[in-house]
């Protein structure tokens, strides 16, 4: 048997794979064979490291060297220099944007310093396809502990005491949810893992499933024991092929090891898991819609009550939790409710994974303790705004959330604070916007999303979101009137009050929060006919500055609709009635003679 003294961890997340991390592994392995070191160096394809901005990531243990933006061509050098000669490859190390110094240990990188990885504890560390790796990191010992040492009530008490709340968006206390499902007697109960992650830009659940699938398998079995269910189902997006593949492998391996199936660990407890694929409907993340979809019905929600805990899958008591929620469960069992409850804020315990996206330097997946401020996330971990621009807003909670502004930067992030600020935690999407983003357009983007993703069942969502997005369209087209603002507010209020499910009830949040925080921007669109961020094409004008134009004709030649006229060495003029506001002229002009206003 090989006795490895060095481990090369290569990110096998979807992002890094698309940047050829598979080829990096192949090349490293080839080189290792050439160097005769294949028996002493192990190459592992791990889950996502989170620092997607700088992917593909290669990390070498034991010295914890963190290489960024590695290409397949770098493999030979990495092996020859780092592994054979023990010299770090400087050019592939991360450069601190502040100090401009190279940082080799990821522990010293700002991106990781303030993170605390609980749900992502194994991502980027183990090979998700190897059950032995998971077991070596205490995997399945929580399940063993539960099955051999705890009653159902003791287990649920631990979950309650931990303060864990649903990570899918609702924030409902997990222990309480389990207790409800346990409370209903039935010949059959079900555990469902909601892996229908659908917020734009969100990939928390995907990363966990790709990087640490066994944690979900284990947690579902624990949940099954808690509520008396023997069947677990994962509702997973068909658009997550890698997650599906790894999860299926994990389930097969767990079954082979006697950790799923009949008489688990000889305790007499039976539990097995299978997968149902979702077809990519956002609303199927809503638990009743999800259940209907699993039953082969149209994926649309029904009124609660009855809650799934009482009447869920095929009318049986069912507990539905999201992937990230489940990922926390085994650690809570092993380290205790007190440990978990010591992390986070008063009413929001533990950590939260966020998908950082937008105009931020360090795009990626992060996990921070609840109560971390937005400023810490955006500036310390996220490395601040791209291209030195000014921070304008951060959108949390996906299409159901709202936009927070600079004055909210020092707000500790937790469920209740975000709701108090007119947004919500959601599943953890965090999109950062800078001064170039038009907030009316942002609201319109989200409304168009919910309008398309509405199942069309209830009137307020089916027609109401359409009318809201039409109103926003009018405003961004420069056809807005003051009365439209009242109409937006009124309609938003009624939709929140009357829509059938969470999707509809929260759909107006992006409108209301932007109207509140960026009222002046709405007014500028309506009253002045201007888009302050310069995004709304209909409100823009490209103009040639008389004192700067030298008459080089470059702009006229690049204009796709030939609306720029002027003779050589004379002032050029843009015909506003024909201009399509593509901006090609402004990009082309070497003399800054064309401005957008």
């Amino acid at each position: 048997m090989a006795n490895y003294n060095t481990h090369v961890l290569v990110c096998g997340g979807t992002g890094c794979i698309s940047a050829e991390s598979d080829l990096i592994i192949e090349n490293i392995e080839k080189q290792l064979v050439e160097e005769g070191m294949a028996d002493s160096v192990q190459v592992l394809k791990t889950g996502c490291f989170g620092f997607c901005e700088k992917g593909p990531i290669v990390k070498i243990l034991p010295d914890n060297t963190f290489y960024v933006q590695v290409t397949p061509d770098d493999a030979t050098e990495l092996v020859k220099e780092h592994i054979v000669k023990g010299r770090k490859v400087e050019r592939l190390l991360f450069t601190d944007p502040e100090t401009k110094e190279k940082v080799s240990d990821s522990k010293n990188m700002d991106f990781y310093k303030k993170q605390l990885r609980i749900a992502l504890r194994n991502c980027g560390i183990i090979d998700p396809d190897k059950i032995e790796d998971y077991i070596a990191r205490d995997g399945y010992s929580a399940l063993g502990k539960v099955l051999t040492e705890m009653t159902q009530d003791e287990l649920i008490d631990i979950m309650k005491a931990s303060g864990l709340r649903g990570r899918g968006g609702g924030g409902f206390p997990t222990g309480l949810k389990w207790n409800f499902a346990k409370g209903y007697a039935s010949d059959q109960k079900y555990v469902i893992c909601n892996a229908d992650e659908g917020d734009p830009g969100a990939f928390m659940d995907r990363s966990i499933l790709e990087g640490d699938p066994h944690s979900i398998v284990e947690a579902m079995a624990i949940n099954g024991y808690a509520i008396g269910a023997t069947i677990g189902k994962v509702y997973i997006r068909a658009e997550y092929p890698l997650a599906i593949k790894r999860l299926e492998k994990a389930i097969d391996d767990a079954r082979e090891y006697g950790l799923l199936g009949e008489d688990i660990m000889g305790t007499g407890f039976n539990f097995d898991i299978d997968l149902t694929y979702g077809a990519g409907a956002f609303v199927c993340g809503e638990e009743t819609a999800l259940i209907h979809s699993m039953e082969g019905e149209r994926g649309e929600p029904t009124t609660k009550p009855p809650f799934p805990a009482e009447s869920g899958y095929w009318g049986k008591p069912t507990n539905v939790n999201n992937v990230e929620t489940f990922a926390n469960v085994p650690v809570i069992i092993l380290k205790g409710a007190d440990w978990f409850a010591s992390i986070g804020s008063e009413k929001s315990k533990g950590t939260k994974v966020f998908a950082l996206a937008g105009k931020i330097n360090n795009v990626g997946l992060i996990e921070v303790p609840m109560g971390t401020t937005l400023r810490e996330v955006i500036y310390d971990i996220g490395g601040g705004i791209k291209d030195g621009k000014k921070f304008k807003s951060v959108q949390t909670g996906g299409p159901s959330g709202g936009c927070l502004t600079a004055k909210d930067l020092d707000t500790p992030i937790d469920y209740d604070n975000l709701i108090a600020k007119g947004s919500m935690m959601g599943s953890g999407g965090m999109i950062v916007m800078d001064e170039d983003d038009c907030m009316v357009s942002v609201a319109k983007f989200y409304l168009q999303f919910t309008e398309e993703e509405s199942c069309g069942k209830c009137t307020p969502c089916r027609v109401g979101t359409k009318r809201l997005s039409e109103l926003l369209e009018l405003i961004t087209e420069g056809k807005g009137e003051m009365k439209h603002l009242d109409e937006l507010k009124h309609l938003s209020r009624v939709i929140k009050d009357t829509a059938l499910c969470g999707l509809g009830q929260t759909a107006p949040n992006p409108v209301l929060s932007t109207m509140e925080a960026f009222a002046d921007e709405y007014l500028a669109h309506i009253k002045d006919g201007k888009c302050p961020a310069g995004q709304c094409k209909n409100l823009l004008e490209y103009k040639v500055l008389e004192d700067k134009c030298i008459g080089c004709t470059a702009c006229a030649r690049v204009c796709p609709v030939n609306c720029i006229s002027g003779e050589v060495k004379k002032l050029h003029v843009i015909d506003q009635s024909a201009c399509i506001k593509c901006g090609a002229c402004m990009d082309k002009c070497k003399f800054d003679a064309i401005i957008k206003q």
Binding site: E453, S454, C455, G456, R462, G464, R467, D497, L500
Partner: protein
């Protein structure tokens, strides 16, 4: 179940556990408006989609408004149904619906009967404040029976519940997402290419003009105005106990005489009765029953059960859903088709006119009859036995259009010979009636004895599936009855899977309550008690008839003597029997 107490608009109400807030409110006369909700208590039709959000109410301690139709009443709830927050929300939701609804009430078939129009009226909507560019546009789908104009769909999903849950036909379901969502057939196929049975119950429950019958009234007017044509009309039994409702009469009022006068006034040359053909059906179907019973008793066990075949939606259902049982229905045509066939042969001969000169019009409680009349096998050289079919509603409309009030008219009698009928024929209009009529005749023919008691109470009722034994002088004939296609499916599956109750004869009617609940009848608007009143009226008409057994109808006897020969004879087979074909559809 234990009772719970709650307060609605200050009134304390006590209801059984499991009641909805809406039910509790109605108990204390708080009439919360609804749109998508529909509960026909005696059938399985309960639509609780909670999709329209018109019935929302404010519940103390709840963050948002609750749909009263689908919210369980809980002990101690304090509910307000008429605060400004509630009223404004309802009006806004209504305006959202109207913003995506065609404003063509003037030409809409449902005008005056439309529940959306009713809401707009009661809410005092004088202008629609919510406007939007987008307006739903879907292809209009026209079949022989019904028209789907989904631009007028409000996504209440009643039709879907009816088609899938009650009738178990499965032709309709929601497709598309968001603003484009609409109820349609699989792959958005035209209804005519699906398993749709044409039962029309979707039309019966549609609150708006999205689903309506394919109106034939103007075609009838044209036929009546054509001097070259002899226009003959037949009226089904269930029409006479329902059409009065369209003229302000209480449900269950029988207006046969006035209806006959109205038809004559409209210009029909001969006003006949489908009941005549119903008696004829009994002779044919009853004879077939006895023939098959004889084979059965002789050891040919597959000769029974026999299924009635009067209901065209039912025939469609078995053709598409139970191919393995396609051989068991009676081959007898329905009364409508028997009438058409006899009118254009026997009666055309009497009048000495070619069949092409005759126009046969049916007045039916049914929309599937429109489809049935158009089936190719019910025509001679392309000339249909029945040319035009009007629903009860369409006839009422035609009478009103012709400046008559049905209730002002003198009563008169049907013309002869095809207007003569018995009490056995009129009960064809209700669930259990066809089989009771058949048994009245079959008993006497089989046993050679007179029936001790004409009323077979054991075959009557409103239960979805009923099984009863009839003593045929020693032999116990087991009879199964189902109304509503979902109930029929259950009964048929039982028969297919071994027939444990040894059922020998089965009657099925596709609509709730039978033809009295047909899709062409005056709209019940969710009041299921109307069907029971029509049923009582049918039995009342039967009791008052001088002759109550089909084989005693003298006009039928004459028909056999002068023309047909004997039941199930050669000419009968040619004119009065048909065959079925398996339909492989989605």
């Amino acid at each position: 179940m234990s009772d719970i107490k709650l307060t609605i608009d200050g009134k304390v109400v006590s209801v059984p556990m499991g009641s909805t807030v809406l039910e509790a409110a109605r108990k204390v006369d708080v009439h919360i408006p609804t749109l998508c909700h529909l509960d026909l208590h005696d059938t399985k039709m309960v639509n609780q989609a909670a999709s329209c959000r018109i019935c929302v109410v404010e519940i103390d301690g709840r963050r948002n408004l609750a749909p009263s139709c689908a919210t369980p009443a809980l002990d101690g709830m304090v509910i307000k149904t008429n605060t400004i927050r509630v009223l404004d929300a309802r009006k806004t939701v209504l305006e959202l619906l109207l913003s995506d609804h065609p404003k063509e009430c003037l030409t809409c078939a449902k005008s005056g009967e439309c529940e959306l129009q009713g809401l707009a009226e009661s809410f005092g909507v004088r202008e629609i404040n919510i406007t939007g560019k987008a307006q739903s546009t879907y292809r209009k789908d026209v079949t022989t029976s019904l028209i789907r104009d989904m631009d007028k769909c409000v996504m209440c999903r009643r039709c879907e519940t009816m088609c899938n849950k009650v009738q178990t036909v499965g032709a309709l379901s929601a497709i598309n997402r968001g603003f484009e969502a609409v109820v349609s057939a699989a792959f958005d196929l035209p209804m005519g290419e699906t398993v749709c049975t044409h039962c029309g119950q979707c039309v019966a429950v549609c609150p708006t003009g999205a689903l309506t019958e394919n109106d034939a009234t103007w075609k009838v007017v044209e036929a009546l105005a054509d001097p070259e044509k002899v226009v003959v009309v037949q009226t089904a039994p269930a029409v006479r106990v329902a059409i009065g409702e369209e003229f302000g009469q209480d449900p269950g009022t029988t207006v046969t005489g006035q209806m006959v006068t109205a038809l004559r006034n409209l210009g029909f040359d001969h006003v006949f009765d489908t009941d005549f053909a119903a008696d004829l059906t009994i002779l044919e179907e009853g004879t077939e029953l006895l023939q098959r019973l004889g084979k059965f008793l002789a050891g040919e066990k597959e000769a029974l059960p026999i299924l009635t075949s009067c209901c065209p939606a039912w025939v469609n259902f078995i053709e598409s859903q139970f191919p393995e049982l396609i051989h068991i229905p009676s081959t007898a045509k329905s009364p409508q088709q028997m009438f058409g066939s006899i009118a254009k042969s026997y009666y055309a001969d009497i009048l000495d006119i070619p069949r092409e000169k005759m126009v046969v019009v049916s007045i039916m409680p049914c929309l599937a009859k429109k489809y049935e009349a158009s089936r190719e096998e019910f025509a001679v050289n392309g000339n249909s036995d029945v040319d035009l079919v009007l629903s009860t509603r369409e006839l009422a409309n035609l009478i009103q259009r012709s400046n008559m009030n049905l209730m002002d008219l003198e009563k008169s009698e049907f013309d002869q010979p095809m207007g003569a009928s018995t009490g056995a024929a009129v009960i064809f209009g209700t669930t259990g009636g066809v089989i009771e009529a058949a048994v009245r005749t079959a008993y006497e023919v089989h046993t050679g004895k007179e029936l001790p008691k004409i009323d077979f109470e054991e075959l009557r009722g409103f239960e979805g599936v009923r099984v009863a034994g009839v003593d045929m002088d020693g032999f116990m004939l087991n009879i199964g009855i189902a109304h509503g296609l979902g109930n029929a499916r259950a009964l048929l599956e039982e028969v297919r899977d071994g027939n444990p109750r040894n059922i020998h004869a089965i009657e099925v009617m596709a609509c709730p309550g039978g033809c009295i609940g047909g899709a062409g009848q005056p709209f019940h608007h969710g009041d299921g008690s109307i069907l029971k009143k029509r049923q009582s009226a049918i039995y009342q008409v039967d009791r008052e008839m001088p002759i109550r057994k089909s084989h005693e109808n003298p006009a039928i006897t004459e028909l056999y003597e002068k023309y047909l020969g004997k039941p199930c004879g050669h000419l009968s087979h040619q004119l009065l029997h048909t065959e079925y074909a398996v339909k492989d559809k989605v």
